[in-house]
Symmetry: C2
Subunit: 350 residues, 2 copies
DNA sequence: CATCTCGCTGTAACCGGTTTCATGGACCGT
DNA sequence: ACGGTCCATGAAACCGGTTACAGCGAGATG
């Protein structure tokens, strides 16, 4: 017997359905119908049941309900915030989370942030998800081992992944138009008269990192600007990585006069490195970030950035998930458009 | 019949305990024991059951388990992120959330972010919490109506509230030493030679708002500095409120040479208002914030601030909760110490 | 009046676990 | 050979809902 086991003799969930039924002089089945199919039960009985239920504070037990119906009205969030992998302990996802919660909440679904209960195996999350009869799953940073996740996605559970493609009968993903956004950024810098446009990328193995680099390259080509490998520095999506990457860029033979940074956190680091080098933004170097997280607006001179539709992420994820839960096939991936937000870091006029 | 109801014919939760039992030629009871009291079952049978379980991918159904044991290993998060009340859609709580999740996760508890399922009554959260056999509850911004929350707290469910006192047999709260922190801030400003120290407070009806004001007043008195009501401006804990409040302070007859701002978000707004007025930080006005959220380090010239122990919040909340879940009485409130973090906004030397 | 329909309700099985209690056998000492 | 422990296990009730199916009475129809 585990010593941890608790004694919880509280008034937690008082009345059962049978008790309520007895008080009303009806059968449990009728009470159940009052709550699930109100229209099939006689108006008079229905009222009486509802009244009595209110009086004794009856609340249906969701575990029992889930057991019987196999619907939990819970959506799992697979998000490694701890251990080894840096995960995405990133402000962007924190900002998304609330939107996601709100969107799901509005559709009647709870959001379960799963624990791995100590067992740090690769599929701990997946196992936890399956145990709980989750109606669906949202995955943030599916850095979690691909095999087990694929297993999850392929098992038919509705899955929505953020920023990373998944395959499965009921799986889809939502992401921003990273390529297009990067191109917007480069084009904007070019329109400001910049010629030597460098970039700081995310880790190459991440999807957004790769796509934003691709957009950068595409737009350079389109604008017939030369592509210089030494003007590409890889960061880590965080401030320090951006700072380090910027320093490297500043040491190159031909110093860039603009830099597209594939994440606002890194852009803040870049700003810092530039200031440290005694250079001015935007006069000496223009900077454009990506994400439009809160700091972007707050850090002087104001960070021009490619805004991701953060509320859109949550909304799109919730919508796709719920439609699949209701039996629809997996909708195509949602690629959310990005918006250029011009602030002081790219144009002197502001 | 609701049209929303879904068809989920997937391989979700395949095998039942009886099936596994049959395959092993034992009774369901034995299988159950293998997972819950491994030591009481014969080593040989145990191994065989475990092996077979692995083979067929058996996973116990948590709903059934919860139904039988009344333990869900889930902790509810009561957090109004949406509707009317501005709630605390605040970066500080986003930063805390991850710590909380991690701390609970490490102790084997899942975190359930409850939906109010459309019914925007005051006790929607409370009702939702009770239905789910939650082992405990964490409340962020208990702006949710006091009566229903009190009901919850008094019903014996382990409750931990953040930043707001609660009463109940199994209820406690964790908060920062707001009074002490505010005093640190004022003292620090005084040590920098400032004499006219103003303050921007949080909304008066919030606990942290009130306490930080109190600390400000106490320390002024201790330092024998005059208390001027016109040097107290109320903000809303967000950037815009801080900005507006600062403008008001700048219009007062005797312009302050320092300001203690009861929240970093507001402090950023204050910095902006000061810059707008053509004044310099820290030369003309020194600024000290509260929270030490991420922006504090990033906004020039660096915001001196009173750091709250964000990881400590999550850890303390999880610890208190779990101890109560395990049957302990409510531990006394945890008042976390704050730390002065000196950056450029209060001292020219840095 | 017999029968058919329809609206409402009850009976009972079931969802998938846990747990109490009883039991059977092995082993021990006398 | 016998009674007493102890260990390992099984039978069955239970947790609190849902739901297929059957039944019943009232009103409509032939």
């Amino acid at each position: 017997m585990k010593p941890v086991t608790a004694r919880c003799d509280s008034v937690w969930s008082v009345a059962t359905i049978r008790e309520l039924a007895r008080l009303c002089g009806v059968s449990p089945a009728t009470v159940s119908r009052v709550f699930n199919n109100p229209e099939v039960v006689n108006a008079k009985t229905r009222e009486q049941v509802l009244r009595t239920a209110r009086q004794i504070g009856y609340l249906p037990n969701e575990s029992a309900r889930t057991l019987a119906t196999k619907k939990s009205f819970m959506v799992g969030l697979l998000w490694d915030t701890d251990h080894r992998r840096p995960g995405w302990r990133h402000p962007f996802f924190q900002e998304i989370l609330i939107g996601l919660k709100t969107a799901l909440s509005g559709r009647g679904y709870h959001l379960l942030m799963l624990a791995t209960s100590g067992e740090h195996t690769d599929d701990a999350y997946v196992r936890a998800a399956r145990r709980h009869n989750l109606d669906g799953v949202v995955m943030i940073d599916s850095g979690t081992s691909d095999p087990s996740l694929r297993h999850l996605a392929e098992s038919g559970v509705p899955c929505v992944s953020l920023d990373r493609p998944v395959q499965g009968p009921r799986a889809t993903y939502v992401t921003s138009d990273n390529v297009g956004g990067a191109r917007q950024a480069v084009r904007h810098l070019h329109e400001q008269g910049r010629q030597a446009i460098a970039t700081i990328t995310g880790p190459a193995h991440t999807r957004p990192g790769a796509e934003r680099l691709q957009g950068y390259q595409e737009e350079l080509a389109l604008l017939r600007l030369p592509y210089r490998p030494e003007h590409v520095a890889e960061g880590d999506f965080y401030v320090t990585g951006g700072e380090a990457a910027m320093r490297r860029l500043l040491e190159t033979d031909e110093r860039p006069d603009a830099v597209f940074v594939a994440g606002d956190e890194m852009a803040v680091g870049a700003l810092r490195a530039i200031a440290e080098a005694g250079l001015k933004v935007p006069e000496d170097i223009a900077v454009v970030g990506f994400d439009d997280i809160e700091v972007a607006a707050l850090v002087p001179p104001g960070l021009t950035t490619i805004a991701q539709d953060k509320d859109g992420f949550g909304a799109a994820a919730a919508e796709a998930l719920v439609s699949m839960i209701n039996g629809a096939d997996a909708p195509p991936a949602r690629i959310l458009p990005t918006t250029l937000v011009v602030r002081g870091s790219s144009t002197p006029s502001i």
